[in-house]
């Protein structure tokens, strides 16, 4: 998609939902994980996944089940290299929403290329809301509805690591540039969707990202 808000990298944070981490706690001490993550758990949605608000997201060619998660997206505004948590959000041009459509995830042990890299599976949008227009976004609530029915709710306070901490940590691994987007975290429990469903995620008064699930091929 040439008109995606993402023009560089789309980096997503998994396992950043406090409730999910608490529920998984015993399992994370066992094989293959051995111990809970000490660092943010990151994955890429590569460029073939980039998509836009309003787009129909194709049903997976080789899947019976399809799920979606929603995240707040930080749109990077200037080169971001090794920034502190205190200054991190100064590098953000604004906020947007990210839908991550994927196959259901059964393990976090290996990179999930098969599940996460489907064409067009990462709509981002609909717009970038400048940071100064967002008041105390740490308390924002992101609600996802399917065909108008509320199905998932994520308050930014439910995230294990907040936006500033994540951006700082990531900026010590990789230098980020304008057009890169960080999806800060999803509800651990992804929402199953069916062909034809309308998925809308919104932060009241600020952003609403709507997509339709494509028909089964």
């Amino acid at each position: 998609m040439t008109d995606s808000i993402v023009t560089g990298m789309l980096v997503c944070v998994a396992l950043n939902d406090k409730a999910q981490l608490a529920a998984l706690e015993p399992e994370l001490h066992e094989a293959p994980y051995q111990k809970p993550p000490t660092q943010p758990v990151l994955y890429f949605k590569p460029r073939n996944t980039f998509n836009v608000a309003g787009a129909t997201v194709a049903w997976p060619e080789h899947g019976e089940e399809f799920v979606v998660g929603a995240s707040l997206g930080l749109v990077i505004g200037k080169p971001t290299c090794r920034v502190s948590e205190a200054e991190a959000l100064d590098y953000v041009a604004g906020y947007t929403l990210v839908h991550d459509f994927s196959l259901p995830e059964t393990s976090y042990y290996r990179p999930d290329i098969k599940g996460k890299c489907l064409d067009g599976s990462a709509p981002v949008g609909p717009v970038v809301v400048p940071g100064e227009q967002v008041d105390n976004f740490h308390r924002l609530t992101l609600v996802t509805t399917i065909n108008g029915e509320p199905r998932s709710e994520l308050n930014m306070a439910d995230l294990q690591r907040g936006a500033a901490e994540l951006l700082s940590t990531i900026s010590y691994i990789m230098t980020l540039n304008p057009g890169d987007v960080i999806a800060t975290g999803f509800r651990g429990e992804r929402v199953p969707v069916k062909p034809g469903d309308i998925v809308e995620s919104s932060i009241e008064g600020l952003l609403a990202l709507s997509n339709t699930v494509g028909e089964q091929p």
């Binding site: 560089g8 990298m9 980096v11 998994a14 396992l15 293959p32 994980y33 051995q34 111990k35 993550p37 000490t38 660092q39 758990v41 990151l42 994955y43 890429f44 590569p46 460029r47 073939n48 996944t49 060619e61 080789h62 290299c81 090794r82 976090y108 042990y109 290996r110 990179p111 999930d112 290329i113 098969k114 890299c117 489907l118 064409d119 691994i173 990789m174 230098t175 980020l176």
Partner: protein
């Protein structure tokens, strides 16, 4: 003129603050599009792929490396991970060793560069989608491994820790991509030797496998994994990754402070 035609090697360099597409002839001369010869000392080598797309890399794709890392049997499916474009840098550029780590190693890898868009590409047609080949050094910092999306981004997506090049050689100029010697030297001493014949999942398999999942596009790259023989690297070390008939990529290790300078 008689004999075979010169192999086509394409690179990108920074010369007098301009990014140039150049070719390298069989004498190793650097030629601009308008026929000017450049002195290598005057250029900075860049990633040879002009608009780099998705960078796929393979873990555990050589039977001997799998054994070295103490896995009991070869994998049934490829272990594929994605690297960020921030990792790319050119031939002879510095690569850094993070402070306070115990084990950072090189990984000399053959890279297939995609030249044509495709989805659901059959193994038999896979080579039609390859533009050419290059070499990358897919550095890893083992200290940072965690068992979540392993190998995780902290290990494999660090700034400038995937040097690549110096050039892309056209596919037709590599006789048998499944039988290429691969040699790594540290400070001139051979530390890793292998052959692409020992890849568990070959390039046609990987093109078929990935394109079944997603659309491959020109500029996407597949780094095909490394054989056994990885050793620790320290600032000051010069590492050369060579794949016979493709390219020899050289980089020097520097400290984190030297690499980041003012940003350190």
């Amino acid at each position: 003129m008689s004999g075979r035609k010169a192999a086509m090697k394409r690179a990108r360099v920074l010369y007098q603050e301009q990014e140039l597409d150049i070719t390298i002839d069989d004498q190793g001369q650097l030629l601009t599009a308008d026929g000017q010869t450049l002195n290598e000392a005057d250029v900075t080598w860049l990633c040879p792929v002009k608009e780099p797309g998705t960078i796929f890399a393979l873990g555990l794709n050589y039977a001997d490396h799998v054994a070295e890392l103490s896995f009991k049997e070869p994998p049934k499916e490829p272990l594929v991970f994605i690297k960020g474009s921030n990792t790319l840098t050119g031939h002879k550029q510095p690569c850094y060793r993070p402070d306070n780590v115990e084990f950072q190693h090189y990984e000399c890898e053959l890279v297939a560069v995609i030249g044509k868009e495709g989805k659901n590409i059959k193994r038999e047609e896979a080579m039609d989608y390859i533009a050419g080949y290059t070499v990358c050094n897919d550095f890893a910092i083992r200290d940072y491994l965690e068992n979540y999306y392993r190998p995780n981004l902290r290990v494999k997506s660090r700034d400038g820790l995937c040097p690549i090049g110096p050039w892309v050689i056209d596919k037709d100029d590599v006789k048998d991509v499944n039988n290429l010697r691969l040699i790594t030297r540290v400070n001139g001493e051979v530390t890793q030797e292998g052959n692409t014949a020992d890849m568990i999942f070959d390039i046609p398999f990987l093109v078929e496998y990935l394109s079944r999942i997603m659309t491959l596009k020109p500029g996407d790259m597949i780094a095909t994994g490394t054989p056994e023989g990885v050793v620790d690297m320290q600032p000051g070390d010069v590492v050369e990754c060579e794949i016979e008939g493709v390219a020899c990529l050289q980089n020097t290790i520097v400290s984190e402070q030297a690499f980041y300078g003012d940003k350190y």
